[in-house]
Symmetry: C2
Subunit: 185 residues, 2 copies
Amino acid sequence: MIDKKETAAGKEKPLKHVLLAGIHNEPRSGYELTKWLQIVGQHCWSVEHSSVYPALRELEQDGLIQSQRAPGTRGPERSIYSLTDAGLEKLRTWVAQGSPRPTIKDEQMLRVLCFDLLPREKALQQIREVRAEHQAQLDFFLARQAVLTEQQLGPLLVTRRGVMAEQAYIAWCDEVADMIDRRPA
Amino acid sequence: MIDKKETAAGKEKPLKHVLLAGIHNEPRSGYELTKWLQIVGQHCWSVEHSSVYPALRELEQDGLIQSQRAPGTRGPERSIYSLTDAGLEKLRTWVAQGSPRPTIKDEQMLRVLCFDLLPREKALQQIREVRAEHQAQLDFFLARQAVLTEQQLGPLLVTRRGVMAEQAYIAWCDEVADMIDRRPA
DNA sequence: CTGTGCATGTAACATGTTACATGATTCA
DNA sequence: TGAATCATGTAACATGTTACATGCACAG
């Protein structure tokens, strides 16, 4: 009931800041941003390409980014976007602010909540599969981490987050398997 | 392009399963489910009450849950929902299936991606605040963990997940602070 | 000459939030 | 008697996905 005008002033949709952040790290096309979101976005913010392109046009109309046509390495021409001065300032202001808590949608966790409905063997198998997926994701983040230098502070820290988050998920899977093992069927 | 009819058969919105799971753990009213979602939902699936009530009515129409009026402990009467046999079967079938990967929306992580735009002191302070929030959440989950027995397998495992996830987030915050410290301003 | 990946876009739909509404009961 | 919590609900809005659509360019 307090801040209405105050927050409304700097109020932009998160997606726009996601894109500004992605462009800030390096100039990118809509397509590249989409790919980037599928990787880095894992532990931040991921959307489909159908949301990316309209948002980019809005950002350009707001004067926060500018585009430049360039030939595709393979394939057709594309628009490469880069931050304008206004965009950089916008981003700088935003970065300094506080964030709402992360939100998570994890159906698997929900299933575990009902694991008493599953025969022990089924549950164990399911957890083994989940563990394998997160292990693959961990390997991916580890490989990324290896090629990043401390110069790229942001990307490195976010990749570290990916590594640690996946390690924690895997450790949890092991605990779950253990606890199911030591239990009457 | 493969499974169209196959998946379409058991296709229900995740929210419905969330509620079935919540009711399965113990019969609850819409209000209680909402509160429950704000706690347990943290690491699974969280929604506002305005989504809960309509979904409950749909579930009841589908014959998956049944309601019973009861006097509120404090306040007006409420409807307590419990699973029907059909609901339990539905839940059991669903639990055995595979899940899509978890999705995360974390604006803070996005900000860290642009930490090179922030003076060192500002960044450190922000991370300290984030750490404190997650520490509080960790304490909360630890307290919950202490009162749960191994009889309540699902809730215990999910709480464990909360504990481990928060610990990992905190450890990451410490790494971030460290890395910012050991760096030219 | 066909499939795969590059590259962009639109429209209908699904899902969930914010804000608005209502009203009971209890405690200070 | 007024604030806080319990308890439920609706409607407008925001946001994002799925599916549909198009077309280039290169590799086999």
